[in-house]
Subunit: 246 residues, 2 copies
């Protein structure tokens, strides 16, 4: 791609290229069940981490680090943290959903090719916290943008990613020797998969449904009515998108 | 795309499609300076919001709402909040960088086609907080994933997005009538642009540099040495990427 193409203000993306970007988003899944035992090439993992490194960050802070975890013993210890956390979380779930909750597969820590912990160094811009004086959590959000870049790039590479959020943060920090001023944002299971499910697991298992998008759009203020043409356009695009699934 | 293609485990992305996904990430910018006065079609905005709605969310919570702000008067009020916040943030910046800070253009609130506030409803899964018992902030992170989807889709559509984080949250909530249990995550300036800058503004203006990525990669634990082949692969890919800029 030439600098002139970049300067053309977006015309560097033709219809096929735009479709590819949307396809990565619409077919990305939180993968727990479809990992295969194949190794993941370092050349592929390098591209995924480079994608993460090109996320936006507040004040160009780039607060992230990437801990690659391959050791089976350490991964079993992380899985034990997950299992303990799941038992602790269960009572918080509505009684009539607890049986379903127990059936859900919520991690692929040991069977994925590798694990990756993406962390946020809270002190990396401490002398010039541009954009963080009012909203100090912005560095956490920047790191989440890196996670999402990683996830989408992985989808385009045919690599599955699952985010394990049922885990006790302090125990994870201890296990991975993460210092006090660093926050683990995402613990990811990463690897080749046999398939990407056509729907999110939690939808397929009846845990939830995709919310009707027009109801989530508001005009000028929270709950503000209006934007009827935009809402119609959203419904129209939703129908097109379903049809194009073939 | 057929269901069979999706089930093929990523082979549905050929080299061109993969390149498009990376290109959106590598050429995405936090846009402040290049907005043009053109309207943004509702059909385009509908696609961007649909992309955001397909972000991952903890427990399939989908905690986001999208407030579209077009009114010039309201936007001027938001800009006043930014100007006040910038004055408050300035003393936190290192003395020798304050002159540069003042010169930076950090928002395009009034000159972009529209503004969009993406919010997080903290109570949307309150009866079954799957994945949030230990880490209640996960819903905020889900909403950030939606922001990043929006941003990347926008890049592929030739639409610029700038995230304004220098703003006092409570004042913004009051201005947009956002209720107590809802957190504004991102206030975005959105619109057609004359160009996407070849580098991030903060790099072009000497505020910061992109960090050397291999130094951010660790093995097994924080600061753990190792992963030499992966670090070499990252350096190799970085060189390829620079050459391909043409």
């Amino acid at each position: 791609m030439t600098a002139a193409a970049i300067a053309a203000g977006g015309d560097d993306f033709d219809q096929l290229a735009r479709d590819a970007v949307y396809r990565a988003m619409f077919t990305r899944r939180d993968v727990r069940s479809h990992f295969v035992p194949d190794d993941l090439d370092d050349s592929v993992l390098a591209r995924l981490i480079t994608a993460a490194h090109h996320a936006p960050s507040v004040g160009y802070m780039q607060p992230w680090n990437f801990i690659v975890i391959r050791d089976p013993g350490r991964r079993r210890e992380v899985r034990d943290l997950f299992l303990a956390a799941r038992e602790q979380e269960l009572p918080a779930i509505e009684a009539e959903r607890q049986a379903l909750y127990r059936k859900l597969k919520l991690e692929g820590i040991c069977e994925s090719a590798l694990n990756l912990c993406i962390t946020c160094d809270r002190q990396r811009s401490k002398d010039s916290p541009l954009g963080r004086w009012h909203n100090p959590e912005m560095d956490l959000y920047s790191t989440v943008c890196a996670v999402q870049n990683f996830w989408l790039a992985a989808r385009a590479e045919g690599v599955g990613v699952g985010w394990v959020s049922i885990i006790e943060t302090e125990a994870l920090k201890q296990l991975l020797s993460i210092p006090e001023h660093v926050t683990p944002i995402a613990y990811l299971c990463v690897g080749r998969v046999s398939a990407f499910a056509p729907k999110p697991d939690l939808e397929a298992h009846g845990w939830g449904k995709r919310l009707p998008l027009p109801e989530l759009v508001m005009s000028e203020t929270f709950r503000g009515a209006g934007e009827a043409p935009l809402k119609s356009a959203i419904e129209h695009y939703g129908k097109l998108k379903i049809m194009s699934r073939g």
